[in-house]
Subunit: 346 residues, 2 copies
DNA sequence: ATGAAAGCGCTAACAA
DNA sequence: TTGTTAGCGCTTTCAT
């Protein structure tokens, strides 16, 4: 510990150049793996870098070139599904020079704007927006500023690439599963949405549409029943209370997300009913909570790691070529049946 | 959308100065709320900033002054306890110009070093390391480079401030609660640790020590029984299996963390035992999982928000005065009794 | 293949 | 109180 001594000036590119007896430019080229350096010079520079423990100043690099930083925004950090996406993302980026930095709690438009702006201000090389709630216009504005990938939101744009799960099909997986078990009164709990942009693009809206469509397809249109609350545990709790109070109770509840299913299970237990004997419950996201054996929630798996890996790949592509046409990747969800779904009683 | 047009050069401080008919310095001073600008000039500059939609380039600022960025490292993002800390932190920082950026999955020394280095390279103004696992020497090295707060780890250092929960007392809260209920064979599941630094400083080690001490204090020294696995769901599952296989089964299990308790509940259910009739279970962290009514896990609340708020306060203090002596804040945990603990059978 | 020199957009001494 | 100027540590032309 150099206690008391001055904060020890950081080693710069100049120090490396002097130590290696070469020009600053040469060092810079080595740092960027740029064209035009002889193997001999490569070696000398690399050795000097190692000997001095030199690390480039990212801010200074960013002034002219790249910052080698990728910003990722998350609505919140507690949803395990986001962790999976992040794992896929960082794994794909592990071998590159890019560093991922997160901006969390973008759960309202204002916070989301603050974080995205902060990332733009810090000249990040690219952005991955996970389940953003901002208006489409705002997203396109951000994407016009820097390479941007939007994850978990439908709707194509020329300004940004998208990676999403096929929520429409995912909802149908649940409905079909329950219908196959013999259920007819299959209710759904939805995240209430009024904004037109979001009604067309947000996963919750697509899942609700998928639910309706699948119910029609199975000849259960008369039994369509949606409690519109929110994608939270509280929302699930309140939604389930509504549904359980119906004159004729549903025999199955499809919660739009696992976190919602948590609230549903809570309300059902409180009402003195058993799962799945009295009522079946299914979620969406296949979180660790769903996999927890004492719960064993039937759910839909979105392959979060793949989503993240795809987002990383698309972002690197776009950083390399800003002009290429935008891409939309849609991944297929799979059904994971567990113990909360069973044939209806009687 | 300015499709096809050049990426629209960003507004700089020069543009603002020209627009407001003042010097660049004047604008810079207004940006930093620095001393020496007349109210008249203030107004003109602010108006120009608003009219042009100017936002300062953080990288450029960082070259000379601050980056207004605070880096926070997290072992993982799925532990809800970290989310609470983060909430407290960002809330405290909301009114400042600082932006919080996260570095996640620092769950091994190599990853932690990569992230902390990345943050140093990006000249962040300060660092908050949450439950870091690096060696003490490494932490001190980082702290010698920039203002650093270490959260959730005991052991004082002159180089960094710390904020931690009093895990020793927290463990005693659980033991006392169980002993008061009449339990004697109270077992503990621990995160296995061999490193000497960490044995003295990591929360898991302190909790285990607190458990031992409290058992002694209650005259239950003969019943001390620790299964040493890891602070994961899997660790809880395996640890519980070990404990359930004892010739004389414990009547209560104190899991070192809620996530561990999840695994414990799993193993107990698998063994066909009931909670709390056959065996009591307690956790630590008071996560949303513990609060989930169908689970209702007795746990210890660490007041994550307060921890975060304190970390933010200490960091701002230290950024303002790098030379002040280091501070250690220790917060008192509280017991939250729920339905997984009850008097032993018989 | 190599290097000299001109910035990038700010902040901080210093002058006026 | 205001403005001028010299960098911060890099990348990038552009000579050589």
């Amino acid at each position: 510990m150099t206690k008391g001594s001055a904060p020890a000036r950081r080693v710069t590119i100049v120090d490396v150049a002097e130590h290696a007896q070469v020009s600053i430019t040469a060092v810079s080229k080595v740092l960027r793996n740029a064209y035009g350096v002889s193997p001999k010079m490569q070696a000398r520079v690399r050795q000097a870098i190692a000997e001095l423990g030199y690390r480039p100043n990212a801010a200074a690099r960013g002034m002219r070139g790249q910052t080698y930083t990728i910003g990722v925004t998350l609505p919140n950090i507690i949803n395990p599904f986001f962790a999976q996406i992040l794992d896929g993302l960082t794994e794909h980026l592990a071998d590159t020079d890019y560093q991922v930095l997160l901006g969390a709690s973008c759960n309202e438009e204002k916070a989301e704007a603050k974080v995205t702006h902060a990332m733009i201000d810090r000249s990040m090389d690219g952005l991955v927006l996970i389940a953003p709630i901002s208006s489409r216009a705002y997203l396109e504005q951000v994407a016009s500023t820097m390479p941007t990938i939007v994850v978990g939101r439908h709707g194509r744009s020329r300004a940004y690439d998208t990676v999403a799960d096929d929520d429409f099909t995912g909802a149908a997986l649940i409905v079909d599963h329950l219908a196959d078990l013999g259920h007819q009164r299959i209710a759904h709990i939805d995240h209430h949405e009024t904004d037109l942009d979001r009604l067309a693009e947000m996963p919750n809206a697509i899942r609700a549409a998928g639910y309706r469509h699948a119910m029609h397809a199975r000849g259960l249109a008369d039994h369509i029943d949606i409690a519109s609350t929110s994608y939270t545990q509280e929302g699930g709790y309140l939604g389930a209370q509504q549904l359980l109070a119906r004159p004729v109770r549903p025999t199955a509840i499809f919660a739009g997300a696992d976190i919602v299913a948590m609230g549903v299970l809570d309300a059902i237990a409180e009402a003195g009913l058993r799962v799945p004997e009295d009522i079946s419950v299914a979620g969406y996201d296949n979180t660790t909570f769903a996999a927890f054996r004492p719960i064993s929630l039937t759910s839909v798996d979105q392959a979060g790691r793949q989503i993240g890996a795809n987002a990383a790949r698309l972002l690197l592509d776009r950083i390399a070529d800003q002009t290429r046409p935008s891409t939309q990747v849609k991944l297929s969800p799979t059904l994971v049946t567990r113990r909360t779904t069973a044939p209806p009683a009687g």
